[in-house]
Amino acid sequence: MTKVTLTVNGKSMSGEAEGRTLLASFLRDTLGLTGTHIGCDTSQCGACVVHLDGKAVKSCTLLAMDADGGNVTTIEGMANADGSLNTIQQAFQDHHGLQCGFCTPGMVMSASALLAENPKPTESEIRHYLEGNICRCTGYHNIVKAVLAASGQDANVMAAE
């Protein structure tokens, strides 16, 4: 076991990891941050997306030791300082951008990476960017609406269903 230290949501956190410990498992099992979900464990579904040094990555396909020293943001770090939902999270609630909620942490993290790169994405750009995030309830329509709304655009421009 080797000590791994990360800055997680602005705080320095350490724990022991094996070579094979994935960043997703390290966050959940060692640091107790269970907001990051492990869905497929094969880097397809995107439920485990976090930001590492400002970039969206699949934490189930990244070794904790390879991330050592890095700056990680997880879903736990997304809320506003007073604990209220941030703009993207609020938009997911307002537009019912979730059904079972399992994919939601990854959807919010990917949406946040998209809006940092492209503050006013079109519907098609949002759908394209979220290709690596799978919602098995197939609630994509409201997720895309939520991202449009979070970017300050009118979500009603999209067809009803």
Partner: protein
């Protein structure tokens, strides 16, 4: 996955030294290696991470050549190659999904040589040079079949040198579940002729479509390929497409690439 020792050197020389151990394997972005280790298809004793080596990263123009460090991310190539070699940048921006592009590297993709990967098509069609820790390998000698390359054990790719073409484009027929190429064609026009490389189609991995190259070298237009398609023999057949379907796509995707070339 089985456990292993993990080392993260900060120079190519240290990485080569760590890889002299028979049980050691290099790890770049890990977007293929880690899933294959989870399935226990691969079980190295030591993983040597190449992600902490600054000299392996970056996109640099040198005259008519674009030099890309082996550990450069797909997302970085998509952005930084755009002004120099737009077709290559567009190809990089179509690999996997955004999170995969933020980890996966050009060197990792080429060392793995997946028969459906995108980068091998650009490298072969550009007649690029693979620079390794101890030599330079021409693209025509580098790809040696499905998941097989000219790399020796312990040898790592350090950079890829792409001669910049007059015109080029990549046209990819996406396998919708994996976003790998069901068949992809990369066409590049140079002063001395046109090169066409096809990925995703052949059981032998990426290959040059010589009939297409001959037709396009005398007339660079989609019409020059009218009615032409690949040979079904030796093409991949699976639930996504038969060998005959992929052979047909060779012609279709090459025509689309020629029409889109810029």
């Amino acid at each position: 996955m089985y456990n292993f020792d993990f080392v993260k050197p900060s120079s190519v020389a240290e990485a080569v030294k760590a890889l002299s151990d028979d049980e050691a394997q290099p790890l770049s972005g890990g977007q293929t290696l880690l899933p294959s280790m989870k399935q226990r298809l691969n079980a190295p004793g030591t993983l040597v991470s190449l992600t902490g080596i600054a000299e392996l990263k970056g996109v640099k123009r040198e005259g008519d050549t674009l030099v890309i460090g082996a550990a450069t991310l797909h997302a970085t190539v998509a952005k930084e190659a755009a002004a120099h070699y737009p077709a290559l940048a567009e190809l990089a921006g179509q690999i996997g999904d955004p999170a995969v592009r933020n980890r996966g590297t050009i060197g990792g993709s080429l060392a793995n040589n997946d028969p459906s990967a995108c980068y091998p098509a650009a490298v072969l069609a550009s007649g690029a040079t693979i620079v390794t820790s101890n030599r330079e390998i021409a693209a025509d000698d580098y790809f040696q079949g499905m998941f097989t390359t000219a790399l020796e054990p312990g040898e790592i790719i350090t950079a890829v040198r792409f001669p910049i073409p007059q015109k080029a484009a990549y046209a990819k027929f996406v396998q919708p579940a994996s976003r790998f190429a069901l068949t992809g064609a990369f066409v590049a026009q140079y002063a001395d002729g046109v090169r066409v490389a096809i990925t995703g189609a052949s059981e032998g991995g990426v290959f040059r479509w010589s009939e297409g190259e001959a037709a396009l070298s005398s007339n660079f237009s989609a019409d020059a390929l009218k009615g032409m398609s690949g040979e079904a023999e030796g093409m991949i057949g699976d639930l996504h497409g038969t060998p005959a379907y992929r052979a047909h796509l060779v012609g279709v995707m090459t025509r689309r690439a020629v029409s889109a070339a810029h």
